[in-house]
Subunit: 389 residues, 2 copies
């Protein structure tokens, strides 16, 4: 018996917008309402369910009431009056009870595939809610309203969702774009200095591998950002989000291959976050990871010492630490070398690391030299100490 095999081939187009605004739920601001109304005018009754980061709810005590007032005025979409407030941060990805709460709400409130789940919070909360929305009814539309610099300029505008499981970061997850992203500058104003600063690390990263001009802009505006200038911060977020989105579009959006240039500086950062039980924030760890891979790029002859010092200077000007004791390569089984091995496993066999060949350009390598890594860590340790002596 021979029957010709059947070939299946189809394209799926994904579209979404990232909007920039202030006071998203002010009743004078019709941006959100216009977005909801502009979607295909199905006869279906559309509902919208909100999940809010507890930290954001505390910093913005009127938020829930503002949302209710907003949907009293713009009532084409039916607001689920129960707004779910849960903690932000890695805990919402680590403990499945929060994921379950979103599923329960989908069930209890009859949120269907024409309806929306909107998440207001930092990147971790957005990741978890996006994942819960993606798998409910094979995909309820989700709207991201990121409230931190890190989520507004990076993770919030991307296509990844997930939770941690078996103690492994993003063990469960999906690639799936949001219906829309709304970046509201009001949320930035109440951030702590650490959270305000932390996300800028992703801008340094993307500038270093893709856009020398943006790197120079960051150098020129580092002091303004460190002094909480909102215009400078807004431009940084807009430009960084744009570069991330262009990368996703031009590359391999759902990461079928191994190359992950946007992970520049991240291999050691992931490990450091875990080792410090997330005491070191993602952006802080990324700043240290960038410093490490920049010095490594210099020691391996890819960039000049002048260029690498410009990077170090920018990281310091923004108020980041340069390194951490756990990033040192010591005798025996250094955690940092374990982290390199885990990153290799995570990619599926072949290590792929991006290094710098200049400010604004990178290249992929498939191994790192332990001795050079040790030297790079020591140099940073020395520079960090100089700062304080």
């Amino acid at each position: 018996m021979y029957m010709e095999h059947l070939q299946q081939s189809f394209n799926v187009q994904y579209n979404f917008n990232v909007f920039f605004t202030a006071a998203l739920f002010s009743v004078e601001n019709d941006l959100f309402s216009n977005f909801l109304a502009g979607l295909n005018p199905a006869k279906a009754v559309k509902k919208i369910f909100f999940v809010v980061d507890e930290g954001v709810a505390n910093a913005h005590p009127d938020l829930s009431q503002n949302i209710k007032n907003y949907f009293s005025k713009y009532n084409q979409t039916q607001l689920v009056q129960d707004i779910l407030v849960i903690p932000g941060g890695e805990i919402v990805k680590n403990e499945t009870q929060y994921f379950d709460k979103v599923l329960e709400a989908v069930n209890t409130f009859g949120i269907d595939r024409h309806s929306f789940i909107a998440a207001i919070g930092g990147g971790a909360l957005l990741d978890m809610v996006g994942y819960a929305a993606n798998v409910s009814h094979r995909g309820i539309k989700h709207i991201r309203i990121p409230t931190t610099v890190l989520s507004q300029n990076d993770s919030g505008v991307g296509v990844k969702n997930g939770i941690n499981y078996f103690n492994k970061k993003n063990f469960l997850g999906t690639f799936s774009p949001p219906a829309a992203v709304f970046n509201d500058e009001q949320f930035l104003k109440t951030l702590s200095d650490r959270d305000w600063r932390s996300g800028i690390a992703e801008a340094i990263k993307v500038a270093l591998i893709k856009d020398r001009e943006f790197f120079e802009w960051l150098e020129a505006n580092a002091d303004a950002m460190a002094n909480r200038n909102i215009e400078a911060m807004n431009y940084q977020i807009w430009k960084c989000a744009k570069l991330h989105m262009e990368h996703i579009r031009s590359g391999d959006p759902f990461e079928s291959g191994s190359a992950r240039p946007l992970d520049f500086g991240h291999w050691s950062a992931h490990k450091l976050e875990y080792l410090t039980n997330f005491e070191v924030r993602h952006g802080e760890a990324v700043a240290m990871g960038i410093a490490l891979d920049t010095i490594y790029s210099q020691l391996s002859g890819r960039i000049s010492s002048d260029d690498s010092q410009r990077v170090i200077k920018l990281i310091q000007a923004l108020g980041f630490e340069l390194t951490h004791p756990l990033l040192q390569v010591t005798a025996g089984n250094s955690p940092i070398l374990q982290g390199l091995e885990e990153f290799r496993e995570h990619l599926g066999g072949e290590l792929t690391i991006t290094l710098l060949t200049g400010i604004g350009s990178g290249e992929e390598v498939h191994e790192m030299d332990t001795e050079l890594l040790k030297q790079a860590a020591e140099i940073l340790n020395h520079q960090a100490n100089l700062q304080f002596n």
Copy 2:
């Protein structure tokens, strides 16, 4: 402050093949091995992990050993020696312990995104394993090896995965194509008569809404199929799979809209399966659902009584029952009318039902008349009784 919004737009192409073969894991059959070798030759070590339906394992006691022998010969891909054997049928979608077992295996055996999870079994098992693979590491490639007529000609070649949750069918799930499908006729030969017959209902369905010529082929070959002729069955599967795949490709693969023409005859079938606790098999329920919506199409003036009787005759020639007491519309809150309402909710507000306008063509309607539905059910009840009197 005004910043231009950022627009994201990208395409993702999905490709996969459905292969037809006999004795897939015979060491002389290099089809499976060639497929694995033909994928992008990354340097990554690829593993393959198998999940097998207990009923299939019992009917094919050499299967596990054959798989081991196969990968001893074709060893470019590393077989995970622990083959997971779990029950088939709706239980694997109802009880999350089976989903968890697949996740645990991914973790324990280090199955990464370059590796494969292959599922051998009926549609329910394939749905569950596909879902577990999709969400593990944001998507491990999954291979479907459907073993029933229903899964070889319909669900196994599609893009839907899922499990039941909160007692709701496919409450959790994803749209995601497999890496490949392998239809092996060997598995059909050990099916019970009920399972052999059941899946043919999907062929009647797709012929009725899309392909008059195929309907005529089914009429001409009904007796051969009822008598377990494998050549006839193979052609039926190939043609039915082809029509399903063409529909997915040409339409809305991930179902962003409400229209679901492939659900012809399914709204009442879903309800009947649940009401009988899956005692009535999916294909059996679909055959009854087709009969009901066909008579309804006639009573509402869309098709002739001659055409509707051809459909009824084909359903009977294949050995299906025409109806079930629970499909009758009675006074008060008939389960069948509840099922219609639940289907409306499932679609998200607007009911969309496909009815026949001829043999080989359908149209969508957005309401059904209770009185006509009652008459249609009574006519079928009468015809079913005639058969036995």
